[in-house]
Symmetry: C2
Subunit: 180 residues, 2 copies
DNA sequence: TAAGTGTGTGAGTGCACACTTACAAACGAG
DNA sequence: CTCGTTTGTAAGTGTGCACTCACACACTTA
């Protein structure tokens, strides 16, 4: 008995987030995430309910990590104005997604929301983050909306690689966005 | 000779945008777009350079349609302030994507930007739209950035189906967004 | 030490799908 | 009425991949 199943599951999920982030749900074979976790494909299927169950579980950990990071950011600005707390949250998020995996996974998950189980997971994830931002920052609707709008813009910037484009339109879109 | 190849190509591209919008690049077989266009799979492969060539061509027509719509919107507010022109552009865009195909296709394309040819097509598309907005509205960088940030938020709202969610966090995110 | 339980895999199976090829029919030109 | 060209397809081919199953090893307990 080398490891407990529960420990294996978290290893697999870390690999899964990375693998799915790069190539998406349909284009990443579960052999790829098995290889990333250093175990056999067959065992992945024993640990999770099919490829879909694996992806949904990966989505859950993805949003979990984001929520934790944002909460920590809010902690650092505790007692400040809503604007200051939102700023701290944005900074924490920018730091978190420096390695791109969590950001790209969200984009991939958004693209396969035609699968109901995935749509549910994504909705639950955004519910958690949005209520967190709303409650902990004490921000009004417009501020929360702006927070997410620029977050989504950040996703576009990274997926399309706009920070590498020197042209003026790209500079306009990336101006002032932290760390993409 | 029932039809010219060129006429067939546009028929196929219309079907392709629809089909790819729903299930994405990897999950939609070219038999699906062939069926949508009412021709055989084999002929699609004669009309386009593989599935990838088909997707890239579909991306081009997608951004083409968006550019045309936005330009028409700008025309309706010609002579107004940048803010007014941007507003007209946003309205035209909201109207365009009422059927969701063009919006969902953009999300799907963004998710497969790990394929260089697709990344190039998407970048070219956004270059076209961004320069169009910048030039025709005479807007400054911050205004252009805001325009795209809320556009991306609109994509999130539609893919996740937030307009169907009655909870307060969802209302905050969808407040004032036109027609998603 | 025998039986039971949890961890792990190799070797398949079956199917979906990208792409090809060989062939046929419609049309235009001379 | 041929002959070349363009439009169109039916019927493959090969491969990649989700998922399964029989089996083996590790460890515990009685």
């Amino acid at each position: 008995m080398r490891s407990t199943a529960e420990a294996r599951r978290v290893t697999v999920l870390n690999g899964a987030v990375s693998a799915f982030a790069r190539t998406g749900f349909h284009a990443t074979p579960v052999t790829a995430v098995a290889a990333a976790a250093g175990i056999s494909e067959a065992y992945v299927f024993r640990l999770f309910a099919g490829k879909l169950g694996l992806f949904v579980a990966a989505a859950d950990t993805c949003f979990e990590r984001i929520a934790v990071a944002i909460e920590a950011g809010a902690e650092r600005a505790a007692g400040g104005s809503p604007e200051e707390i939102l700023d701290a949250m944005g900074g924490a998020y920018a730091e978190l997604i420096a390695d791109r995996d969590l950001l790209l996974f969200q984009v991939q998950a958004q693209a396969v929301t035609d699968i109901p189980e995935i749509a549910d997971a994504v909705r639950a994830g955004y519910r958690r983050i949005a209520t967190l931002v709303q409650d902990r920052a004490g921000a009004d609707d417009a501020q929360v909306q702006r927070f997410f709008a620029y977050g989504q813009l950040c996703h576009l910037i990274v997926t399309v690689g706009l920070e590498q484009v020197p042209e003026p339109w790209a500079r306009a879109l990336t101006a002032g966005i932290r760390h993409p």
